[in-house]
Amino acid sequence: MTGKTENARGANGEAKSGWRQSMAWIHTWLGLLAGWILFAMFLTGTASYFRPEITRWMQPEVDIAPVSAVHAAMTAVAHMQKIAPQDEQWTIFLPDDRTTTTRIFTRARPDPDPKAAKPPRRPEIRVDPATGDPVAARETKGGEHFYRFHFQLQIPHPWGRWLAGLAAIFMLAAIISGVITHKRIFVDFFTLRWGKGQRSWLDAHNVSAVIALPFHAMITYTGLITLVAMYMPWPVAANYQKPATFADAIYGVQDDGKYLGRRAPLTPIGPLIERVSHEWHGGRPATVIVRNPNDAGATIQIARSNADTLNARGQTILFSGSSGRRIAASQPPGVAIETAGVMLGLHMGNFAGPLLRWTYVLLGMTGTAMVGTGLLLWTAKRRREDVKPFFGFALVERLNIGTVACLPAGMAAFLLANRLLPADLAGRADIEVAAMYWTWFGLALLSLALPVRRAWIAMLGLSAASFLAIPIVNMITTDRGFFASIARGDLLFASFDMVMLSMAVLLGFGAWRAAQPPKQAKRVRKPRAAKPPIQMPVRELTDAA
């Protein structure tokens, strides 16, 4: 914020050093550098609060009635016995109110020869909990795609996660510096002046930031905590010879199961599920991990659902897989481990019921708006009608269009591709994902051909049209259109259509605002004397002087 920095200079031109001035400056630059990534992380992260719902929408042919956890676990294990009895580990996610299918990940036993290539990761298996048969549905990444993009950014491991972490720490520093910058935080809360150019963008940025400030701070910090083991592994190294020991301490139960190489039939899973439900006084088992199935050293870990607890790391009970003997149960964690677990839980929001979940989504949208308005404020502050824009200004403006106006169209394209591609097309899941990036980056490139204002209008308009198209295409390509969903009381599909319509209205409103002739804002401050439009190193210059 060059303005603030300038104001800080006294009559003799000496820069005063104060926390507010320096924090305003750093807030501007941190926010700008990380803004585009943060916008994408906020938007896709917000969508991820509906991860299972998006997956269900993207497989409209799946219509599964709920069954008991015992039954689901039995059919899942029976299926795995059929297809991969010798694997090293099965991880089975039992269905619940939100996810109707059983999801299974399996890991092949690694070749004992250390030089052998690692076996490739197997794709997720989805089975019908009633029968244990693989779900016959179109292949799709579903809500998992937005979720993964939210913290991996579709960049190869581990760089995507590092970049997301960098953006998050910038965000954290931007929040702290932003709070210090705003001395009038409660006044800002009630101030929103429309149609006043730069002042309006500042108001919008303040309102969206302040209204949900605790949420923004919480979601940023807890987001860093989700990947703390990768970002900050050093405290573990100082206290443990083997990092795995710390992991055991976190999960509260140590699985010492070793592969013995002696065959032994796997104990029936049904009684174990009944037993843990009883021990948890009705708490729902969510995850079943079978290590070394059909071996004498087999173990079965059953973890409790975190849908009813704030701590994302629920209780776990460990059984012998050959005898069914209860080996151990997780101990209640200490304060710090519990804190970390609650932080995880707060970030992912699995504990949230429908009302709280929608609140999460609205707050996430506020975060998206905060980042978006902050990006626009940067350009609004530096726009001069009389001077040819300098390169950095043009770059920021074009990146703003490419992110704020074009990413929504990309996300809509992902959903549209799901409906428009033939259901049995080979490799369609990857084509859906590709559709998002081709649309997003394609439109961003295309927007370069238009003058700035026309580009905003066109891209926001296209994004709005893409979202508007989703309910229509859904109605044409499936028998689960809006009216059919209402008629059969299918709240999920009906709400999905309504959310798509709301997105279209929101983006359409943006396009309409962008199309209004720019009003000459009455400057609150006296116009400044002509000076170079960018003053980034001004503090450094006074330093150097």
Partner: protein
């Protein structure tokens, strides 16, 4: 004109040093301090480790912000890099918690 250009160049160089100090030095210092805390806190091993990890990002953010608040580069660079070297060296000297 030439003097302004030279000033600008020197300003850019100083800004680069400042940014690297904040970004990399700040991370190293935060990692060192968090690790040392995890190693020395008189708590259960797992608890001390978790506190170190949880607080590390706050320490990082504060180091980073201070690196841009304090105007004297000759102040921030020695303090941040010094804290990093000192804390990491101490953590190595102490070794893994017995």
């Amino acid at each position: 004109m030439a003097r302004t250009a030279a000033k600008k160049r020197s300003g850019a160089a100083r800004m680069t040093v400042r940014s690297v100090t904040a970004l990399i030095g700040g991370y190293a210092a935060a990692a060192g301090v968090a690790t040392l805390a995890a190693r020395l806190l008189p708590l259960d091993r797992a608890e001390a480790t978790a506190w170190g990890m949880i607080l590390s990002f706050l320490i990082y953010a504060l180091f980073g912000l201070w690196a841009f608040h304090e105007r004297r580069l000759l102040m921030i660079a020695p303090v941040i890099w010094g804290a990093a070297v000192l804390s990491i060296a101490t953590a190595f000297a102490l070794g893994v918690r017995p």
